[in-house]
């Protein structure tokens, strides 16, 4: 089976910056946004030409994902135009998953219908929380009531809907979090992502925490919330398929799974990362530099590397292990294999035995337990230690 090929388009714009956010995104006017759309098309063409030269031509995308930033700030028409460019340049496989991220207040029923008509079949809403005070702390501007409206509108337009949640915001109680998870479940969506708030040191929120204006990020609190979410979501009929993602069977995001299971992907847009075979490369972060480089007819690469065997092994373990399908035992080094019994004894992993037990393959695989999911990095270190 050929390695799946995914295209990710990074839209580096937001209506405003949120205090916790470390993503490569900027507040920019309509002109810059329009310029970006033209540049992204050009980058697609340059990147395809390069893949041609490196004999990786003829790749048909099995998934396309518009993330950000806030892709819907470009407007549905521009997003559709960009998607058309992907189709034109690479081709898109029948039944491919095509997703746009959206803020609940940056899209409406008409816009969703327009995306659906343009070939999109999935939308991922940044819900984050159901509670106004938590949303305010996160600098999110949408009215929590609006989430249900846009999810329903997406359904009417024939789009699969997913919502993202964030847990562990300073000031969020366990009961607050429970309310958010229950509200997300009540939307009836088939896919929910829940991410622990992770503060990068240079963000405004991290500074406020350091200054003592906001309570600290407590990993134990986040662990409690993860466990609660897993219970509630499982009870609601969704199963975890990756550490931070839950879905009803058959509704897992294929694009996301691609990241964890060794797909190739091409990242388009400022700061986007690509992974093709053993090559990893990434674009410049600044939209201005990005624009100028493309205008000069060059790919806006900031850096890259080719993984050696050890790095490939570490990457494979760290990514596959995050999935419910787990990591095939055969992929482990002898030392990694030797570490498995202790990890099982510690209740961090289980070994899924025999063919068909799951997607780990005939040789069986290592799958994280719930406790293990919260300590996945520790498990990876144990499985890759020499």
């Amino acid at each position: 089976m050929p390695v799946p090929f995914a295209v990710y388009v990074h839209v580096p714009f937001c209506a405003r910056r949120c205090g916790y956010c470390d993503f490569n995104t900027y507040v920019a006017g309509p002109q810059a946004r329009a310029a970006f759309a033209r540049q992204a098309v050009k980058e697609l063409e340059l990147a395809a030409a390069e893949l041609d030269r490196t004999r990786q031509a003829g790749r048909t995308a099995s998934s396309v994902f518009f993330g950000g930033g806030t892709p819907t700030l470009l407007g549905p028409a521009t997003l559709v135009k960009l998607y058309d460019a992907v189709r034109r340049v690479f081709g898109v496989a029948p039944g491919a998953e095509v997703t746009a991220e959206a803020n609940p207040d940056s899209i409406d029923e008409g816009g969703l219908a327009e995306l659906a008509a343009g070939g999109f079949n999935r939308v991922s809403f940044g819900m984050q929380s159901a509670l106004p005070q938590v949303l305010a702390r996160l600098d999110r501007t949408h009215d929590p009531e609006r989430v249900a409206l846009v999810v329903a509108a997406a359904g009417r337009a024939g789009l699969e809907a997913s919502v993202d949640l964030i847990y562990g915001t300073p000031g969020e109680s366990l009961a607050d979090w429970e309310a958010s998870v229950r509200a997300a479940l009540a939307l009836g969506v088939d896919h929910i992502s829940a991410y622990a708030l992770t503060l990068e040191p240079h963000t405004p929120m991290a500074r406020r925490v350091r200054a003592g204006e906001l309570g600290p990020i407590d990993p134990d609190d986040q662990a409690d919330k993860y466990e609660l979410a897993d219970e509630l979501l499982t009870g609601g009929g969704l199963s975890w398929y990756e550490i931070s993602n839950w879905a009803r069977p058959g509704h897992e995001s294929r694009h996301n799974l691609g990241y964890w299971t060794g797909a190739d992907w091409l990242g388009i847009g400022p700061g986007a990362h690509s992974s093709i075979g053993a090559r990893r490369f990434w674009n410049v972060k600044s939209p201005a530099v990005y624009g100028r480089t493309i205008a000069a007819g060059r790919l806006p690469r900031a850096g890259g590397e080719t993984l050696d065997a050890a790095a490939s092994q570490l990457e494979r373990v760290m990514l596959r292990l995050r999935t419910a399908a787990g990591l095939e035992l055969a992929a482990l080094s002898p030392d990694g294999l030797a570490a498995v019994p202790q990890l099982v004894a510690d209740g961090l992993v289980r070994v899924a035995a025999g063919p068909g037990a799951d997607r780990a393959g005939a040789g069986g695989g290592v799958v994280l337990t719930r406790r293990g999911r919260l300590l996945a990095d520790l498990v990876v270190r144990a499985l890759t230690s020499r």
Binding site: S244, Y259, H273, R280, L314, E315, L374, L378
Partner: protein, 604 residues
């Protein structure tokens, strides 16, 4: 200078200077070198006699030397041999040998501070050796000098009249000539039998990279000639004399040394253990039958484990110790393995300062990063089954039923202004001291004498004494055998596994405090693991203190944003690197830094 190869004993004066560390001995010695013309002003370095950097920085002298000074009195040139003495309590045996090489001692006291405990101890040693004592008050140029008060004090100590006390300033040179005259007049010339078989006392022995061991001697009887074969009376080893001479102030070869003369000799041996301080040198052809009295094997009193922070430095540490040993007969070491710290050495030292100096030299001169375990003394443990065990490392404390434990004790002398008497008595009390007596040195200065366990002194006694007396008290001590004490071994256990590096032998009454302190310290230092880590302090099977490092519940990145898996992989690689530097105790990973912090004596 006589034309024969040795000097007439009548014209020789052998003396040393007894002084506290900062009472200006080196400055005075420099001044004497200048006045006698053996060094000119331009060649003078400050503190000419102290050679090593560490000594210069700390203002102390570790290794003594002897300098020959010509001084004319009454028209006759005399030979003054100034024998330098080490100025710290750890080297009291070396001091005693230096004193044994002299007939006189200059008792040098800071005119602004009065006599200090160490000086007093050395003075008593000199008085016991029947040395002629010349009391001298130094730094009389200081505005704070109180020469009358301290002359009174010195007269009371050594007998005699306050007016016998000379007054000098090493800094300005005032009174130094009178002092040199005084040495000639007041110190007895050496007496020995020139016809007897040769006997020379080794009072110092220094390793030199180019010459091998340079041995400093004082000839008592007979004569040592160049190219003669000599014998060491304690080891019976014999060597060819390659060179013999005097220091003035650079080595200068001579045909031989006679009765009363002080000089150096070189035999080509490479290790100071072959030329031991206190040993007697005799002629191999006509050996003496009796060695000079007072020889003692150097005996380490304080032990500590030294471990390289980077395990691959083990060989470098061994080589460095081998090198230091060449110049340090008292340093002992043997390989030791700690479950927690890896491969290292259990090292024996004369005392705490000796330990600090060796450690500092290993780090500074050999570029090693070291962890040292808490210093401990040697215990003698007797079990109910009648067996006896020497314990130099708490982890070797026998596990059987203990009948008794003996620990080394010292006879300590503390001098202090009388206002701090209460504070000192409290401190000594809390350190299990037994008072022997107390005397007034002067109206407001007191001498207190105690028997104290050496282990208490090794801990932080000196720091405590200084802080409780605003720095005024001084301390000296000498070994005084051993005493039985109610001692127990406290183990520190992580997840039920003892951590050898943290075990300590402490008095039963202090076991609880030690256990609580260590458990609490470790709780703050040990990072959370995926399982709960109980920290226990225990005596045998009985747990006396307990803490807990709660289990780590979350160690996972939520998201690989925008497909940036490179960053996450790099982070994991960094974590894995960090893990390699962890020490394992059972299944508990402990960062190196936590060990260092936990073992640091200055941690809160």
């Amino acid at each position: 200078m006589p034309s024969t190869d040795s000097t007439d004993p009548e014209l020789i004066r052998n003396f040393c200077i007894i002084a506290h560390i900062d009472h200006g001995k080196s400055t005075l010695a420099d001044r004497m070198l200048l006045k006698t013309g053996v060094v000119d002003q331009r060649a003078m370095r400050d503190q000419y006699l102290d050679r090593m950097d560490i000594e210069r920085e700390r203002g102390i002298t570790i290794k003594s030397q002897a300098v020959r000074l010509p001084w004319t009195v009454g028209g006759r040139e005399h030979t003054l041999n100034m024998i330098d003495t080490p100025g710290h309590v750890d080297f009291s045996y070396e001091v005693s040998r230096s004193l044994a090489a002299c007939e006189g001692a200059v008792l040098l006291v800071d005119a602004a501070q009065g006599i200090e405990a160490q000086t007093l101890a050395n003075l008593y040693m000199a008085l016991e050796g029947d040395l002629d004592i010349i009391p001298v008050l130094n730094k009389i140029d200081l505005p704070a000098a109180q020469p009358d008060k301290y002359a009174e004090e010195l007269a009371r100590l050594i007998g005699g009249d306050p007016s016998d006390c000379l007054r000098v300033s090493g800094k300005t040179g005032e009174g130094v000539e009178e002092l040199l005259d005084g040495i000639v007049r007041r110190v007895t010339p050496p007496a020995g039998d020139p016809e007897a078989p040769a006997r020379a006392l080794i009072f110092d022995s220094v390793y030199d990279t180019y010459r091998g061991v340079v041995t400093y001697v004082r000839v008592v009887d007979g004569h040592l000639g160049a190219r003669e074969r000599i014998a060491m009376m304690s080891t019976k080893a014999s060597h060819e004399l390659l060179e013999i001479g005097v220091i003035s102030p650079e080595p200068s070869p001579r045909p031989g040394l006679g009765v009363g003369e002080v000089g150096y000799l070189i035999t080509g041996v490479k290790d100071v253990r072959q030329s031991r301080v206190g040993d007697t040198i005799t002629g191999a052809a006509h050996p003496a039958s009796q060695p000079l009295a007072g020889y003692r094997d150097p005996k380490p009193m304080v032990f500590s484990g030294l471990y390289p922070i980077d395990g691959s430095d083990y060989t470098a540490l061994r080589d460095a110790l081998d090198k230091l040993k060449l110049n340090d007969a008292a340093l002992t070491y043997e390989p030791e393995t700690s479950a927690a710290l890896g491969f290292g050495f259990r090292c024996g030292f004369l005392g705490l300062l000796h330990l600090e100096i060796i450690r500092e030299r290993l780090e500074r001169e050999f570029g090693l990063d070291l962890i040292s375990t808490a210093p401990n003394v040697v215990y003698e443990v007797s079990l109910d089954d009648g067996s006896r065990h020497q314990v130099t490392n708490p982890s070797e404390f026998p596990s059987g039923k203990v009948a008794s434990v003996r620990e080394p004790v010292v006879r300590a002398t503390i001098l202090s202004p009388s206002q701090f008497t209460g504070a000192i008595m409290d401190l000594c009390q809390s350190r299990r001291g037994t008072m022997l007596g107390m005397d007034y040195l002067s109206e407001d200065r007191l001498e207190l004498r105690y028997i104290l366990p050496l282990a208490e002194i090794v801990f932080d006694f000196f720091d405590q004494l200084k802080s409780r007396t605003k720095g005024y008290a001084s301390l000296d001590y000498e070994p005084d055998g051993s005493a039985e004490a109610d001692l127990v071994k406290v183990d520190i256990l992580l997840q039920g596994e003892p951590v050898d590096a943290f075990s300590a032998i402490v008095h039963k009454d202090k076991a609880y405090a030690y256990g609580v302190m260590m458990a609490n310290r470790l709780r703050k230092l040990i990072p959370r693991q995926q399982f709960e880590v109980p920290i226990q302090a225990a005596i045998g099977a009985r747990v006396i203190a307990r803490e807990n490092v709660r289990a780590l519940r979350k160690d996972v990145l939520a998201k690989c944003y925008g497909g940036d898996i490179t960053r996450k992989r790099k982070l994991l690689e960094k974590q894995k690197e960090g893990k390699k530097r962890m020490k394992m105790v059972g299944r508990v990973e402990i960062p190196q830094e936590a060990f260092i912090a936990a073992l640091a004596s200055d941690a809160e």
